[in-house]
Symmetry: D2
Subunit: 117 residues, 4 copies
């Protein structure tokens, strides 16, 4: 059982790949590719829905969707490990960038891209 | 400054959306869509590269790549919040599924899909 | 000016790549990657919309969207050329497969995947 | 049997959707979403490969890959129909844009984005 944290998952994924001699396949390019493939599998569950709210899925479907999200997450963690990126830290920096790009006064109730605000 | 954890980011993203009245746009379907769009922007940096190793990027490019990864991560966290999914827990469950799908003896040095092993 | 057909575009893309010495980058893998990156750029225009109907876009936006669709199309043509696939022929075969997967009686008014019909 | 052309496929897809009462699901947004999902399924076949050349696939795999390409193509045609876009014409216009963005003298042997040339 892995430690329940991003660091724990990072270590578990390293061990998983080493045991299977998969590092040869896990180039950052391939991991970014595998991640978008999983993001597509996740999106498939929503493609003909209006909103895809929690209650639009059965319990079984929600578990399937959760595991597709896990696939994206695991490849993201693995990619971050290979590139030496701290995901939490990068996310905090990006939140600050977004706050500057989308000031409340301009962005309120508006879904336009910041370049069109 | 947000708490440096997935929970902290979840709360920060809720506040960010509320302040901008963006919950109306943040349906799970739209968040899964926005996430794959960001995964595509990330992948663009690798598309003509052989491997995309850390040393293949300049410091400035690595920062750009880190922030694209952050975008994927932030939408994934937001989607998990909307669907009531615990990302770490889902990832641990998926790791166990993967261990069953890809036993070391069969998967070693092999990149085939489990259905073809 | 190229011949206005898939064959004409195939020849024009070959010439475009040869003149720029880009065949070295145009592996099928890289072309499939570039295509999904463009599909993501296209999807970005729809991500916060409800339906994205023709009338939801300005004339300028529709032109931008058209050119994103063209990007997907051009990479698809280029990939088909590299893999020796006849796109029209493959599409006709896929239509027949779909007709078997989704018989009118079962699929009518239903967006379920064929495996769940 | 449909007419072997983009126009023929457009008409066949309209009929296919009408017979199944699927127009309600075929909003441009949903079609752009379904298209990227198919682009992901196509990309999956390449994700752990170096180049994904024609000879890297068995005859059976090549047929599977061809049908994934057909899926992307069919959704692209359907989307173009819904948005009133002429795909061939848009592709010809995009080729001209690309010729301006990537002049031979600057782009030769170089995979950089035009903004970095």
């Amino acid at each position: 059982m892995s430690d329940a944290s991003i660091e724990g998952l990072t270590v578990a994924l390293r061990k998983f790949a080493e045991e299977r001699d998969w590092d040869q396949f896990h180039t950052p390019k391939n991991l970014a590719t595998a991640m978008i493939v999983e993001a597509g599998e996740l999106l498939e569950h929503f493609q003909w829905m209006d909103r895809g709210n929690r209650e639009d899925f059965s319990a079984r479907q929600r578990e399937v969707v959760s595991l597709e999200m896990a696939d994206v997450f695991l490849y993201l963690i693995r990619l971050a490990d290979k590139l030496g990126v701290d995901l939490i830290d990068a996310a905090l920096r990006k939140l600050e960038v977004n706050a500057l790009k989308y000031p409340v006064a301009l962005a309120r109730g508006n879904s336009k891209k910041y370049t069109d605000l």
